[in-house]
Structure formats: structure tokens, C-alpha cells
């Protein structure tokens, strides 16, 4: 696929935009449709496109196995950690209003944004992992 000039050039052009769009979807989850899950899936599709064009070894150079394995769990930990932070500031688990980030509205808003980041990290990492594991044929 690397030798196909059109697909390579167009993918090079589109991949950064797909990635930015994924992050845009995450940031605007509170204003319109979208959120962490959708953003994560779109981000994963950009990596899928990269792997399809450049092959799986190049893809692993860009997103190494260690990083995705660690990020798998870090996303869930961000989510849970925000819940624990709410406990520490005297609220219930995941009661964002108690976070010391301004009044109730702002604190909830930021709390929601935080957990969306957690969801996005987990989903993107898991989807990339799944794709790599399934696409790799190896010598078996």
C-alpha cells in the first residue's frame, strides 16, 4: 500500500485532521453531539488508517505496544480517580459539584470534561489494541 501514491498522500493529508476532529468531538461533547467514546473511536480510526497504509510494523513504531497497554488502564484510572477526588473533597463518589473549581455549574462542567477525557483515552487505546491484535497475522 505504501507504493500507492494517491492513497498515501491523501492519508497523510487526512490523518492529522481526523485526529484533531477526534479531540474536537471530545471538547465539544457538552455543546453538541459527541463525547469521549465517539472521539476515542475516531482517534482509533486515524491510527487504523495509518496502519492500513504503512503496515503494522510502522504503526507499532508510532504507537508502541507498551503505550497502548498502559493507556488502556490509565483511562479507567482517570475516571475512577476523579470519583475518589470527589470523595476527598467531601462529596459522594462522582459528585463533581464538590470539587474546588468554582461554583456548582463550573465544577460539574469540569468534572464531566475530566471523565470524558478518561473515557476517550481508554476507548482509543482499547480500539487500537484490538485492531493491532486482530490484524497481525504473524507466522502462525
Amino acid at each position: 500500500m505504501k507504493d500507492d501514491i494517491i492513497i498515501r498522500v491523501i492519508s497523510n493529508l487526512l490523518i492529522p485532521f481526523i485526529q484533531l476532529y477526534a479531540l474536537y468531538v471530545l471538547a465539544h461533547g457538552d455543546l453538541g453531539p459527541g463525547g469521549g467514546f465517539q472521539g476515542g473511536v475516531i482517534f482509533a480510526s486515524s491510527i487504523v488508517l495509518y496502519v492500513l497504509v504503512y503496515g503494522i510494523d510502522e504503526g507499532r513504531k508510532r504507537v508502541s505496544q507498551k503505550i497502548t497497554d498502559v493507556l488502556n488502564s490509565i483511562g479507567v484510572m482517570i475516571y475512577g480517580g476523579i470519583g475518589v477526588a470527589c470523595l476527598m473533597f467531601g462529596g459522594y463518589y462522582l459528585q463533581y459539584g464538590k470539587l474546588p473549581l468554582g461554583d456548582l455549574k463550573e465544577a460539574s462542567h469540569l468534572g464531566i470534561y475530566g471523565i470524558e477525557i478518561g473515557v476517550e483515552v481508554t476507548v482509543a487505546a482499547v480500539m487500537i489494541t484490538i485492531f493491532f491484535e486482530m490484524a497481525r497475522r504473524g507466522n502462525d
Binding site: 500507492d4 494517491i6 492513497i7 491523501i10 493529508l13 487526512l14 485532521f17
Partner: protein
């Protein structure tokens, strides 16, 4: 002013819809895979471009019409590429193009 804008956008949308329908007819009617790709690659791309331009005219100039413009640009980049990818897939797999019989063609 608004009426003129609505009429222009109506004309654009109607033309776009017509092209999209023609593309659909072409996809059904043409005899082989390579020729079917022509309506899919051209009629569809321009048809969508026209419909979305019609929406842009209807909307006037603001951020939403900029978003529509971005969609149009991405379609104009991605659609020919997808068409090319398909054509190449068929060509590499050795699909023979349909040729008109010598008797009736030139």
C-alpha cells in the same frame, strides 16, 4: 433578498438531487464495474457538492456554512480517492473491462 436566496438555494439543491439520481441510475444501468464507477465518482461528488452549496446559500455566511464548506472540501478530497482505491482493487485482481461488441461499436 431572502426570497432570492431561497430560490437560488432551491435551484442548487434541485440540480444536486437530479445529479444524485442520475448517478444512482448510472450505477444500476451501466454494464460493468469500471463504467459504473464513472457515475459514482463524478455525479455523486458534484451532486453532493451542489446540495451542500445550496444549504450554504440558504444559511448565509456564518460558521455553520463554513462547516458545510469543510464537508464539501473533504468530500472532494476523499471521494475520488475511494473511487481510485476501488478501481485499483479491481484492476489488481484482474477484472477485465467490458468492451462493446465490434459489430455495433466503432
Amino acid at each position: 433578498m431572502d426570497i432570492i436566496r431561497t430560490i437560488i438555494s432551491g435551484i442548487l439543491i434541485a440540480t444536486g438531487c437530479f445529479l444524485i439520481v442520475v448517478a444512482a441510475i448510472g450505477v444500476v444501468r451501466f454494464p460493468d464495474f469500471y463504467t459504473r464507477m464513472h457515475p459514482a465518482g463524478k455525479g455523486d461528488t458534484l451532486g453532493q457538492g451542489l446540495v451542500l452549496t445550496g444549504l450554504m446559500v440558504y444559511e448565509g455566511f456564518d460558521l455553520i456554512s463554513v462547516k458545510l464548506l469543510i464537508i464539501i472540501i473533504f468530500i472532494f478530497i476523499a471521494n475520488p480517492t475511494a473511487t481510485h482505491a476501488l478501481a485499483k482493487a479491481a484492476y489488481v485482481a484482474g477484472v477485465k473491462p467490458w468492451v462493446k461488441d465490434k459489430g455495433e461499436g466503432k
